[in-house]
Symmetry: C2
Subunit: 287 residues, 2 copies
C-alpha cells in the first residue's frame, strides 16, 4: 500500500518514482533506465519464478567465478555484445570515418589486460618463455590523421601464447610478463614488436559463461589477434586489436570484436618470420 | 567482419542472429529479449566506458557478497522491484480477484527462507531463544475460495527477531530454527502460531545493494511482517507475508512487498499478548 500503488501506479512506475530521490542526476538517469528496461524484459518474456531463480543463480555463479585474474562478468558482457556496443558508442568519431586518414578503429579491452607491462626496446621480443608458435614481427608507424609520424607514442601490447593461454591465466607455467610489453615509437613514429604469431583461442569456458555459450549453440573461439593500447600526449587513447587474416573465426568471433579495418596479414619472410605491417592512426584530443 | 556486420546489421542484431542457434526455444526467447533490452538500455543512456566498468565492478562485488546465508542478488532484485513484478506476473489470478472469496495475495519470498523448519503443534511458540519483543499469536483459518476450511494445510512460517535479525543471519547468537516453524491446520482449518510481534528491520545494507540504496537516496527498511508459505494438496501454493498495520514503512517498504490485503492488526489482549487474526484463502490448482 505504498503511495504509488495507492495512486494506481505499476510496480515499475513505483520504483522509478522512488529513484527520484537520487542526488546525482546521471546515476538517477542510469538507474531509472535500468529499472525500466529490466522490468520491460521480464514483462515481455513473462519470466517465471523458476526462471527468475535460475537467473539469480547464474549471476551468483558468475560473481563467484571472478577473482584477481578471472573476470567472468566482462566475459559475459563480451559474449553478449555489450562490450562492443559500449565501445562503438564511445568511439563513434572513429567509426564514422572511413576516408584515408581515418583514425584506427577501437575494439574491446577483453578480460586479460594487465597494466604496467615491462618497457621494451623496439625490435625486442615479448617472448620470455617458449610455448612454441611461429616467430613474428608486428611493425609500422603511429601517425596523426594528417599522416605525420607521432614520436614517443606508447604501444602497450599483450597477447596469448601458442598454447592458447595468456600469462595471467597460467601463473604456474608462464612468467607474468610473458608476451606483454610497452614500446615507444622512435623519431619517425616507427615501432617493432617481436613476438609469436597470435593463434585462435577459446575464451575460458569452464564457468557460467561457457555454459551459456554451449546452451545457446555457440562456440567459444576468438579470432587470432594481438591486443594493443596506443597512446600519445595530445591524442585520444586507442584500445584495439590487430587480427590475423588467416583466422578461422573472423566471421564468428565469440565476443563480436572483429572489424575489417583491423585485419592484418602475417607474411612469411625469407628468415621464416611472420611479418605484419600495421600503422595506427590516432585522433587528436579536443584542445 | 562477421556475416551480420557485412550485411549491415548492428551489433545488437548480430548477437540476436547468433542466438538463433539456441536449441531450447524458451532459452532462445529469453536470451534474445535479454540482449535486446540490455543493449537498448546501454544505447539509451549512452553508457560510457567508465560507467560500464563501474557496472562490472558492482555486479562482481554483488556476487562476492553471496554465500550460503547471504543472497545479495536477491536483495538487488528485491530492491529494484523485479521480485515483486515477477511475483505479480506469476500469480495474477490472485491479483485480479478482489471479490469476497478472493485467494490471498502472494508477495515476495525474500532472501531469508530456509527449508525444513521444525514441525510445531498449533499454539506452540517459535521462540527458541529470547531476543525480547512483545509476545504474539497469529491465528486464523486456511480456507478454499468457497469458504470451506482446508484441513491439514501446512503453514511454513519464518520471521525476524525483535533484535531485527533472522536466525540465519546470526548463527552465533540465535539457534538456527529460532522463529521458524511448520504448522498444520486442524479439522476446522484452524492454525495458531505463537511468536513475537514482528518488527521493522533494515535489509542487510553493508554490501553493494546497501551502497546503491544510499546513493539513490533510499532507506533500507522493510515494513514489519511475518513470512508464510501456505500449501495444501490440490491447491496452488502461496508465498506471502502478514504485515503489521502499525509499521512506519508500509508505504515505503524498500522491496515494494506491501499489499493492502496483507496488512493485519496485532491487537493487545488482556494477557498482554498481541493477537492477529488472519485467514488465508487458497486457490484450487488446475485439475
Amino acid at each position: 500500500m505504498s503511495d504509488a500503488v495507492e495512486h494506481g501506479l505499476s510496480v515499475t512506475d513505483e520504483v522509478i518514482v522512488r529513484l527520484e530521490a537520487t542526488q546525482d542526476p546521471r546515476l538517477r538517469e542510469i538507474m531509472q533506465a535500468a529499472v525500466r528496461h529490466l522490468h520491460a524484459f521480464a514483462a515481455e518474456v513473462r519470466l517465471t519464478d523458476e526462471e527468475w531463480f535460475a537467473g539469480i543463480g547464474f549471476l551468483t555463479a558468475t560473481g563467484h567465478m571472478c577473482d584477481e585474474v578471472r573476470q567472468e562478468f566482462i566475459l559475459l558482457s563480451d559474449t553478449l555484445g555489450l562490450s562492443t556496443l559500449v565501445d562503438a558508442m564511445n568511439h563513434s568519431h572513429v567509426e564514422e570515418l572511413h576516408a584515408p586518414g581515418a583514425a584506427t578503429a577501437s575494439t574491446i579491452l577483453g578480460p586479460f589486460y594487465v597494466p604496467d607491462s615491462p618497457w621494451r626496446e623496439n625490435g625486442e621480443s615479448m617472448v620470455e618463455f617458449d610455448c612454441g608458435g611461429e616467430p613474428s614481427l608486428l611493425r609500422g608507424r603511429v601517425l596523426d590523421q594528417q599522416g605525420n609520424p607521432v614520436a614517443g607514442a606508447v604501444l602497450d601490447a599483450w597477447q596469448n601464447a601458442a598454447n592458447m593461454f595468456y600469462a595471467v591465466q597460467q601463473p604456474e607455467v608462464q612468467p607474468p610478463t610473458n608476451l606483454r610489453g610497452r614500446y615507444r615509437t622512435d623519431d619517425q613514429g616507427c615501432y617493432e614488436i617481436r613476438s609469436v604469431r597470435p593463434t585462435d583461442y577459446p575464451i575460458p569456458a569452464d564457468g557460467p559463461v561457457g555454459g551459456l555459450l554451449r546452451a545457446t549453440g555457440r562456440h567459444e573461439w576468438r579470432a587470432a589477434h594481438m591486443h594493443l593500447k596506443v597512446s600519445a600526449e595530445g591524442f585520444v587513447p586507442l584500445t584495439t586489436h590487430v587480427f590475423d587474416d588467416q583466422s578461422a573465426f573472423l566471421r564468428t568471433d565469440t565476443v563480436f570484436g572483429v572489424k575489417e579495418s583491423l585485419i592484418g596479414e602475417f607474411v612469411l619472410d625469407e628468415d621464416g618470420m611472420r611479418v605484419c605491417e600495421f600503422d595506427f592512426v590516432l585522433a587528436r584530443s579536443e584542445p
